[in-house]
């Protein structure tokens, strides 16, 4: 008869093996200024695992040709690899169909495509575009461009001093003239996780579509866009362990069908005459020209990598790091954490009394610790919080508590230099 197993601390079966993860990232073995690299700037861009680098290299070495062109075997292989990447990304995001995934250059291009191709033709003077006060410049400026061109107005839902969206005010701002809501899922500057399911419900109750800036959500949170009933989502490969130069616009099929092409060219047409051209079906219609084929292959490998680690496990690991880091740096005299939302993901923004974030960044760099210092492309949010800049540490699956310790030690060094 089996004896009862001894009680063990509760460790989820999918807990992340961080040392194994770190071994996948060749760059983590490098040094800067003779120190172990402590990379805490994944919110700006993540590092790349061997699996992604290998996928691109293998693709170029064995299967590369242009897609949708050649009658030869190699082009068929390249096309199959490109299509497979789209299918992987569609599954990863919880899309209903692969053609709901459009490959772009990144989050910025995806948002601009919706702004120019979908929203702009529907705007009349006085119409409203609703964003939040915590948007990245890439979810502000594209809307200013279409507002300026059409006479529409940008309205901004407020955030609290803790860095949370004021949900009542957000709801009240969705009016009869609101044509689109565009909001960050996760704030790049503060780490705030917005209640996007509620926000989508509120907007849909008034018949308004929602674009989510998913740049900071895609690498960190489980995502099921069909369940969420999201209309559009933009994200970037390079923030989710994939290559630079490629990103995604997800759109519900019926909405993407209504997006006018912004770029015309090869591969996006059905027929072309000098009088008139007709468009190819989705997704090709919105992907003019030869795309970043190898980038798509790399992104496909990246989302496969994230799925293999398990997004819930990544989330739990990063949550542990964020909690530990918040406690560690709060012990340091003069440090103030900026952004104290109840739900946060992977971002720790902070200031130090009398010491500019750039100086913090330079001294930390001398100890091997990479953080971002500045306004994080969110100047209106910084103004709202009465700040010009913060220092920001951000975490990924490959970070450890000892990285956080290095940050805390580095901040003690900052205090010594500016004592």
């Amino acid at each position: 008869m089996a004896t009862a197993a001894p009680a063990r601390p509760a460790v989820p079966s999918t807990a992340l093996d961080v040392e194994a993860v770190r071994a996948d990232f060749p760059i983590l073995g490098t040094t800067v200024h003779g120190r172990r690299l402590v990379y805490l700037d994944s919110a700006a861009s993540s590092q790349k695992p061997r699996q992604v680098l290998d996928a691109e290299r293998t693709f170029y070495e064995t299967s590369y040709a242009n897609i949708h062109r050649g009658v030869y075997e190699l082009s068929a292989r390249a096309t199959a690899a490109y299509d497979a990447a789209r299918e992987r990304v569609a599954r990863f995001l919880g899309a209903r169909h692969p053609h709901e995934v459009i490959f772009t250059r990144g989050t910025t291009e995806s948002i601009n495509l919706v702004a120019q191709g979908y929203v702009r033709p529907r705007l009349r003077p006085g119409d409203e575009i609703l964003i939040t006060a915590m948007e990245h410049h890439s979810n502000i400026v594209p809307w200013q461009l279409v507002a300026e061109a059409t006479g529409a107005v940008l309205t901004v839902a407020p955030v609290t001093a803790r860095g949370e969206l004021v949900l009542d005010a957000f709801e009240a701002l969705i009016g009869p003239k609101t044509r689109i809501v565009a909001a960050a899922w996760v704030s790049n500057a503060l780490g705030t996780v917005n209640p996007v399911a509620r926000m989508i419900e509120m907007a849909h109750a008034r018949g308004v579509p929602v674009l989510l800036d998913g740049a900071q959500a895609a690498p960190h949170l489980p995502i099921d866009l069909a369940a969420l009933d999201a209309d559009f989502l933009a994200c970037s490969s390079h923030k989710m362990y994939g290559p630079t130069g490629i990103g995604v616009l997800y759109g519900r099929a019926e909405l993407l069908e209504a997006v006018s092409p912004v770029l015309g060219g090869g591969d996006m047409i059905a027929t072309v005459t000098f009088e008139q051209s007709t468009w190819a079906p989705l997704p090709a219609r919105l992907e003019a020209g030869t795309p970043h084929i190898a980038g798509a292959v790399g992104l496909g490998a990246a989302v496969e990598y994230i799925e293999r680690l398990d997004r819930s496990a990544i989330r739990a690991h990063e949550h542990d790091l964020l909690t530990y880091a918040t406690a560690r740096i709060a012990e340091i005299p003069g440090v103030t954490v900026v952004g104290q939302a109840r739900e946060k993901a992977s971002v720790l923004s902070f200031t130090m009394d009398g010491i500019h974030p750039h100086d913090i960044g330079t001294v930390l760099d001398s100890t091997g610790v990479c953080v971002r210092a500045g306004h994080h492309c969110a100047q209106p949010l910084m103004q709202r919080l009465g700040l010009l800049a913060t220092a920001r540490a951000s975490f990924a699956a490959y970070n450890t508590r000892s990285d956080v310790d290095a940050l805390a030690d580095g901040l003690e060094r900052v205090r010594e230099v500016f004592a």
Partner: protein
Amino acid sequence: MATMSELYQTVILDHNRAPRNYRAMPGATREAEGFNPLCGDKVHVWLKVTDEGRIEDVSFQGEGCAISKASSSIMTQTVKGKSVDEARTLFEEFHDVVTGKAAGEGRGKMAVFAGVSAFPMRVKCASLGWHALKAALERPNAVVSTE
């Protein structure tokens, strides 16, 4: 890599803590604002230039890192009493110091910024106040960006 003490020299830390000529200037004859769009830092420089082209008074205010604040502070001390032409030459000299092109280490207190040349990401911080000065000398009401 240059050490932190080579970059953050005592003189720089002192000017950061207590910047000189840090005030608005009513009755300025020229002024300019400098922005660093990369980091959001800004500096406002005021000048009183006599009809003979001499910088009678110079002051600044702004938000920025230790390097940028100390540099603006030392800039005001360096150009005060100089002619407009001399100030332009000093701008060039300063630029050579922070980009590592200076034969020596530059004149006077400028020498403390020689360490910046080892930190290319920080050259713009060090130059912000000087760029605003140059803009104010060239146009009476200017806004200048480091980008």
